[in-house]
């Protein structure tokens, strides 16, 4: 065990994988000499060679499309999209190609591809460096979508993604990169894709969340138990697709109250599927209506501090208040 922040955990896990398996290649904008805008691959072009750490042209569809070709021919590519906001030009390659190749070939071909990209806001990134994209991609059968919230989960899930025979979209919340620290087990441990994780056990209320919101929910939960004696269970979804409905439903059935928290704009967001699943499977175990807390339905997070803050926190302590409200209802 040793303490790491998320960006270091990702850097070390990916470094080990590249060192151990020469089929692993990294391609993306600025991943070479500059080591990526978040310095995850700093020094790797020299260490592993420019033919395995590939600075690409500014062309996301090609980054994913070329990576698909590599995956079809014996490599294990990791395609880095510099910011999740810029993955959209690759939407067709991801939806129509990466996610459908196994199905359309009746299992003849597979695409062991990992697409890594930093997402999420609250870092003063404005409309085009703050976006949440999980809702678009979690809806695509044939694609797995992972979003760790801690250094250990980031390392363990990244290793699992690299061993997965199918395409995995690996979402890294920018705000966790340096802000979130935690213990990381030594060695090449794996965290299974498709398993949620109870980050805090509780009795009165289940909060289902993922990404950086996990930490905001844990903070609110801690305060609630201290200040109000309310016991909140915080479930970290970790994998959006396939969704671990078992763990979620077990928690909700026990506490009888469900709140789903996500940063993305609320309507048609990923939280809708979680709420719908609970409503279908556990409605009669609930003693309060399901509550979703999502971002406001605006196109993206604005730049100016007062506007960005409003997006993240429309009213002071809003997570704390909404939890307390639901616990008491």
């Amino acid at each position: 065990m040793s303490e790491r922040n998320v960006v270091t955990a990702i850097r070390e896990a990916l470094h080990d994988e590249m060192a151990q398996d020469e089929r692993v290649v990294l391609l993306g904008e600025d991943v070479g000499a500059r080591g990526g805008v978040f310095r995850i691959s700093e020094g790797w072009a020299a260490e592993f060679g420019e033919d395995r750490v590939i600075d690409t042209p500014l062309a996301e569809s090609a980054i994913v499309g070329v990576a698909i070709g590599m995956a079809l021919h014996g490599l294990l590519p990791v395609a880095e999209i510099q910011f999740a906001d810029f993955i959209h030009p690759a939407f067709d390659q991801i939806v129509s190609e990466a996610a459908r190749i196994r199905y359309r070939s009746n299992g003849d071909f597979g695409v062991p591809l990992v697409i890594r990209t930093p997402c999420g806001g609250g870092i003063h990134g404005a409309l085009y460096h703050s976006q949440s994209i999980e809702a678009f991609y979690a809806h695509i059968p044939g694609l797995k979508v992972v979003m760790p919230s801690t250094p250990a989960d980031a390392a363990g899930l990244l290793r699992s993604a690299l061993r997965d025979p199918d395409p995995v979209l690996f979402l890294e919340h920018k705000k966790t990169y340096r802000a979130v620290k935690g213990e990381v087990p030594e060695g090449a441990f794996h965290t299974p894709i498709g398993r949620a994780d109870v980050k805090r056990a509780g009795e009165d209320l289940s909060v289902i969340t993922y990404g950086y919101e996990v930490h905001r929910c844990l903070d609110a939960a801690a305060r609630l138990s201290e200040e109000e004696g309310v016991s909140v269970e915080v479930v970290d979804v970790r994998t959006l697709a396939p969704l671990d409905t078992e763990t979620i439903l077990a928690s909700v059935r026990r506490t009888g109250k469900a709140m789903i928290v996500y940063e993305d704009n609320r309507t048609y967001g990923a939280g809708a599927e979680i709420a719908a699943t609970i409503a279908e499977e556990a409605m009669f175990d609930l003693d309060a209506a399901i509550v979703r807390v999502g971002g406001p339905d605006v196109p993206a997070m604005p730049f100016a501090t007062p506007l960005e803050h409003f997006f993240m926190e429309p009213e002071p302590d809003h997570l704390y208040r909404r939890m307390r409200e639901l616990a008491r209802s």
Binding site: A62, V66, M70, G74, K144
Partner: protein, 350 residues
């Protein structure tokens, strides 16, 4: 990066390749006989598939007639087993050369469980076969272009002697993926050959509304590799251009873009009616340059295949196709619930 002289030279190729005698290219008379048989097979398969469609036994077919010359001619320079093929839906001639059999093709036409391309999941002509090195193709146009670059990159990184062939129509050249894929291939001088089967229409949209240039091949210069224009009705010219590109690729000299001027004789697909956008005169005129006829003439001139031999081959091919059709028609349909399979790997082999 090519200097402007190379580029200039690469242009001349376009004209130089016409009417090269096959011997100089290392093609034996037997090669020409096999090419001839393959051309006939492609054409007659096409006509047979259209008949199946009219009979109501095949809901959807994609005719390739008119394109056989450039399809078989270019594909012939590739090596089965070693090279990788990314054909597009019109490329029946390419997949025949790659090793797909008429029986397998009709399994696709009838959407049978054993269809090697997709087990009946995709429309016919959406080719794929891991065994044959034919990469599974989709409907969205030009998406295979970056794949071709990625495969070529991987092959070189793995020190393989593999050349990647990537076929597409004129319409594909308008897509962003086409640009991005060719640019990537040019930057890394990858062993990949891009073949444009320019039949001057994207369904109904004429070339003049797709691009402001006469030869899309000239765009290759902008990606730092040669562009070549060939007469798609001249099978040997197509072979020659492809062979040269194949040699360049293996020699580490990078990609080539080959533009074959061709024409589609039938409507876009069995769902299309081309009368609204092509005059009958235009279509008839094009048929006067039928690659099969021109190749047949070449064979006769060089005394390789005469009329009676041709009739014999035709008869054999017809029998082969009839047999393939009845066998494929009898084959099993996919199990309904199998629709749920292969969303993800069923084992975790990569």
């Amino acid at each position: 990066m090519l200097d402007s002289d190379d580029r200039a030279r690469s242009w001349c190729v376009a004209t130089r390749v016409r009417d090269t005698p096959h011997g100089a290219l290392g093609l034996t008379d037997d090669d020409l006989r096999s090419i001839h048989r393959t051309l006939l097979l492609a054409r007659m398969l096409d006509e047979a598939a259209l008949r199946q469609n009219r009979m109501g036994r095949a809901p959807f077919v994609v005719p390739g007639s008119g394109h056989e010359g450039c399809q078989v001619g270019t594909a012939w320079a590739m090596r089965r087993g070693t090279d990788i093929w990314l054909p597009y839906y019109r490329d029946v001639g390419v997949v025949l050369v790659a090793g797909m059999t008429p029986y397998e093709i009709f399994l696709g036409v009838f959407a049978k469980a054993d269809d090697p391309s997709s087990g009946g999941r995709q429309m016919p002509s959406h080719w794929g076969s891991r065994r044959l090195g034919i990469i599974t193709g989709s409907s969205p146009i030009a998406t295979q272009v970056p794949h071709a670059a990625g495969i070529a990159y991987a092959a070189r990184l793995r020190h393989e002697d593999t050349v990647v062939g990537c076929w597409f129509g004129d319409g594909a050249t308008s897509e962003g993926d086409w640009h991005e894929g060719l640019n990537f291939a040019g930057i890394h001088r990858l062993p990949v050959i891009f073949v444009c089967e320019n039949n001057h229409y994207a369904i109904s949209v004429p070339q003049s509304k797709q691009m402001a240039v006469e030869d899309v091949a000239q765009r290759a210069e902008g990606y730092g590799f040669p562009g070549v224009v060939v007469d798609g009705n001249d099978v040997i010219a197509c072979y020659a251009a492809m062979k040269r590109a194949h040699d360049r690729a293996r020699a580490g000299e990078g990609p080539t873009l080959i533009e074959c001027k061709t024409y589609r004789y039938f409507p876009h697909t069995s769902d299309d009616d081309d009368k609204s956008y092509r005059s009958r005169e235009e279509v008839e005129e094009a048929k006067h340059h039928d690659p099969l006829v021109e190749f047949g003439r070449y064979l006769e001139t060089h005394g390789i295949v005469d009329g009676s031999e041709r009739d014999a081959v035709r008869a054999e091919v017809k029998a082969q196709i009839d047999q393939a059709i009845s066998a494929a028609w009898e084959a099993a349909d996919p199990e309904p619930a199998s629709a749920l399979r292969h969303v993800f790997a069923e084992d975790d082999g990569r």
